[in-house]
Subunit: 104 residues, 3 copies
């Protein structure tokens, strides 16, 4: 098995997740995005507890492109500070080949 | 990028996930919780295959607080043995700063 | 805490996810599967951007069984090339004991 990168991000709503998700696949920064569904987020911001409805997406890319993908998502995102997480995962060699083939 | 910790847990229902999720943010053991939605779990317990409806949540905290967060969630949880997983993820430096600022 | 393995996979639909998920628990290749819910996937395939509705599941097993679990899921899956990811996560010792006890 070989490593690919998963990137998890929350968006303001389903439309933003779909728009940015599709743009990242169009631009070959990710081979795939799963538009996962809505969530309710509870968080602290400047000391107060806030609650927001958001929408989650999970991107699949190469380890080498993960940082650039995160930066591009952040640049297109409606939040000043989007919350984006990346971690390496093992996948079959055929999946890695596919991810490499369909990204830059 | 810097490491933060993701913590995934399943709860008995949406109300429990929201109650414990909010408590962890109130107590500054997590900067954020995503209340993700329902799932159906199939599992073995004492040799028999069981099925339950549950509700998932994803917490974001510092690597240093992750273990204490898991212990606190377990203490408040309605199950004798909740299933909680923690793993490190890379996030932008601004996200790490936010997580550090809004937790203990 | 001890390491267990999470395995994330997408399936053609809820029925396939439930059928294969239950089979993996029946065969003691996983202690648990969370049938998470539907997603919309956007991906590149042979250079074109495609969109499909899928269904996600998250399996919990031992590090030693993770590769065999992935191979078995792939063998039962309706896709020629299913997308399956595995990563290690920290869990409480009681969870690891449970996962070990209920798997091969």
């Amino acid at each position: 098995m070989s490593d690919i990168a998963l990137l998890h991000a929350t968006f303001a709503d389903a439309a933003e997740a779909a728009r940015i998700g599709r743009a990242m696949v169009d631009q070959q920064l990710a081979a795939c995005v799963n538009l996962i569904g809505p969530c309710t987020s509870i968080y602290r911001w400047q000391g107060a507890v806030e609650q927001s409805d958001e929408y989650r997406a999970l991107f699949k890319t190469t380890p080498e492109l993960a940082r650039e993908l995160a930066d591009r998502i952040a640049a297109l995102h409606s939040y000043d500070q989007p919350v984006i997480e990346i971690w390496p995962v093992a996948a079959g060699d055929a999946v890695l080949d596919w991810v490499r083939r369909e990204t830059r």
